[in-house]
């Protein structure tokens, strides 16, 4: 029998190929701190370019100047987030908010880090690279931050959604009073529903999703909805399951839908196919279904972030908790002009917004 064993060269090539596959896969985590790829801010292309070209020097300068750089010059920030930066939901709300801040900001993004260990590596990588303000945009990153933050006492970590700083003086925490916008949208949903049957598509029963959904359900029930069905699919990312959940709601008679988290694109698609109005949260979702998205509760974190930057410039690196709500402008109800909402309903909704904002209307959450 002839011997035709694969030469060692081929084995080596196979190993190189496998490594190449893994290396290419790493490209999916956009803007890996290890490679110092900088995410370009729309209005700050030159600064970003400078950082890409001369990253080490920039970091050195930041270390030397510290407070001065924050007060008048460029500040380096990074976001680590669990979903895509343009998910029309949770992560995009933070990316858009940083883009809306005044001043020169070098922003780096690591998104799609569903795996906490990957996020932890990215957070530590940014801290080691000298990034001044690191936003850990996910409740699940709290445990990692508790380990990392003490190792970098000069770095400001911003963590949310969370309502405590874990006792560390270089962590700021933030959370949305999502029930407030949820309540307002629930009242509108009840007003436009003919059947009084409203369906909600939720992810995992945790965090701001629960606040939004409970607020929405209470707003709808307080205003005449007879049947508000809530389904938590058990996943933040399963688009197919969200779609089937929306279909189940519609089959059971729901004529208005809402939902929270990035997997709701599947549900919005089903709503659009069936001509069912949709209410969004976290980011403005009107682009998904221009004729059917009635309104969205949009998170504007820029107020919180500005306070963080101001505090850091004044020498406070953390230790405070911030809430965004309808009253301080962190939560904004954005109506979609493409949906023909009855003006009377809109006027009533605006009155509800004012009432919730000044505390005269409770959300029941």
């Amino acid at each position: 029998m002839s011997k035709t064993r694969t030469p060692k060269l081929w084995r080596l090539l196979a190993a190189i190929f496998a490594l190449a596959l893994v290396a290419a896969a790493c490209g999916g985590t956009d803007d890996d701190p290890a490679t110092d790829t900088t995410e370009a801010m729309e209005d700050d292309a030159e600064t970003t370019e400078a950082m890409e070209d001369d990253d080490a020097e920039t970091t050195e300068a930041m270390e030397d100047d510290d407070g001065e750089a924050m007060a008048g010059g460029t500040i380096s920030m990074a976001i680590v987030a669990p979903s895509a930066k343009d998910d029309l939901a949770f992560t995009q709300s933070m990316v858009d908010s940083i883009a809306a801040l005044d001043g020169d900001i070098d922003l780096q993004i690591t998104d799609g880090t569903f795996v906490v260990e990957e996020a932890a590596a990215a957070i530590r990588g940014y801290a080691e690279a000298g990034v001044e303000v690191i936003v850990a945009h996910g409740t699940q990153y709290g445990g990692s931050l508790a380990e990392i933050a003490p190792d970098f006492p000069e770095t400001t970590f911003v963590w949310g959604t969370a309502s405590d700083t874990q006792g560390l003086d270089n962590i700021f925490a933030y959370y949305p009073a999502a029930d407030e916008g949820g309540y307002v949208l629930g009242t509108i949903a009840a007003a436009i529903s003919e059947s009084g049957n409203i369906g909600i598509v939720g992810p995992v029963e945790a965090g701001d999703a629960v606040a939004y959904i409970d607020g929405f359900a209470n707003g709808a029930k307080d205003n005449g909805a007879t049947d508000v069905s809530i389904v938590y699919t058990g996943s933040f990312g399963d688009v197919a399951l969200a779609a089937e959940t929306a279909q189940a709601h519609i089959t059971n008679g729901a004529d208005v839908l809402s939902g929270s988290a990035q997997m709701v694109v599947g549900a919005v698609g089903v709503a659009a196919q069936n001509g069912v109005p949709w209410f969004g949260t976290q980011a403005n979702q009107a682009s998904l279904a221009p004729d059917l998205v009635v309104a969205s509760q949009v998170y504007h974190w820029e107020g919180v972030l500005q306070q963080v930057l101001d505090a850091r410039a004044a020498g406070t690196l953390g230790g405070e908790v911030f809430e965004i709500n309808l009253g301080n402008g962190g939560l904004v109800i954005e109506f979609n002009d493409g949906y023909p909402l009855d003006p009377a309903v809109k006027t009533a909704a605006e009155a509800t917004i004012a009432a919730v904002a000044d505390g005269s209307q409770s959300t029941g959450v």
Binding site: G28, S83, A84, D86, I230, V231, E244, G266, A272
Partner: protein, 309 residues
């Protein structure tokens, strides 16, 4: 109790379960062919992600669903060629190679989406085709005969793959190579060529599964499959390496998921049990695998690279 049964055994749940089962079925059928030849492919999920993205992108640009389906098959074919070269000709360890393919698919589809599309946008989705006469049958007509062409195709592939494996020379070669590639090779059956073709078939079906998933939804998101391909691999074990068994497993998984959603939507599952109920399909699959373990025999040469001595 009656209300629970009425909720589960409804037309809507049956139709939903079939839709959810289809990507598992397509990927599982392909993986069955590959595993019967002795090749474990843990890269199924990555292939699905890649094919899903490219099918979506194609439809987004060209607005042609059939072109999108074709592209998903083509992506599966290309990934199959790569995986076959690595595992068959380079004799690389199958598990590690498969994980490499998975990571590549996950990362590259995400990267391509971010660079070329960005924000999720809807494309045309596969339309339902009502089969004349059959779709008018009471109860079952609506549930079974009002789906997209890809769903019908997936279930028609079950007997086709069974026939391929049991009745054709190629199928016999696949089974022989999966049991003892050295013996088959010594008798004139090229184990390498047989495994190569089996891997191609498996990856083409995985690609089609990705295309079916994304074009049923009409939208793509990074990590769209959410580990669906790994469940499909598990369903091959569940189905005892038989196409009909894989179909039963896929349907069970899809129907349980659809039933749980319906029970939640009707508020028949208390909210405090909501997240636990969401795990029901996976728990059932694991339980079935535990029960089946030891009672069914895997292809003897599964995961063993073949080297001609």
């Amino acid at each position: 109790m009656l209300e629970y049964l009425e909720a589960i055994f409804s037309v809507a749940v049956l139709a939903s379960g079939i839709r959810l089962a289809t990507p598992y079925l397509l990927a599982g059928l392909g993986e069955t062919v590959g595993q019967r030849s002795g090749v474990l492919n843990l890269g199924v999920d990555g292939v699905m992600q890649l094919s899903a993205f490219f099918a979506y992108w194609t439809v987004l640009v060209h607005e042609n669903l059939w072109l999108g389906i074709g592209v998903s098959v083509l992506v599966g074919l290309v990934m199959g060629i790569i995986y076959a070269i690595v595992t068959v000709f380079f004799e690389a360890q199958q598990g590690i190679s498969g994980i490499g393919i998975f990571l590549f698919g996950l990362g590259f589809s995400d990267l391509m989406f971010q660079k070329n599309v960005g924000t999720p946008r809807f494309v045309k989705s596969l339309p339902d085709v009502r089969i004349p006469v059959l779709s008018d049958l009471p109860v079952l007509g609506e549930a079974l005969f009002s789906h997209s062409v890809v769903i019908y195709g997936a279930f028609l592939l079950v007997p086709a793959v069974a026939w391929l494996l049991r009745k054709t020379t190629f199928g016999m070669n696949v089974r022989a190579v999966g049991e003892n590639p050295q013996a088959a090779d010594s008798l004139g059956v090229s184990a390498q060529r047989t495994r190569f073709i089996a891997i191609l078939i498996g990856n083409v079906l995985a690609g089609l599964a990705g295309g079916a998933l994304v074009l049923q939804l009409g939208v793509f998101q990074p990590n769209l499959t959410q580990g669906l391909g790994f469940i499909a691999v598990a369903l091959v074990y569940f189905g005892a390496w038989r196409p009909s068994g894989v179909m039963v497993g896929a349907l069970l998984y899809g129907l349980v998921a659809a039933s749980v959603l319906q029970l939640k939507a009707l508020q028949l599952i208390p909210r405090s049990y909501s997240d636990i109920a969401a795990m029901a399909p996976a728990v059932l699959t694991i339980a079935a695998l535990v029960i089946l373990a030891g009672r069914v025999k895997a292809p003897a040469a599964l995961t063993r690279p073949f080297a001609r001595h």
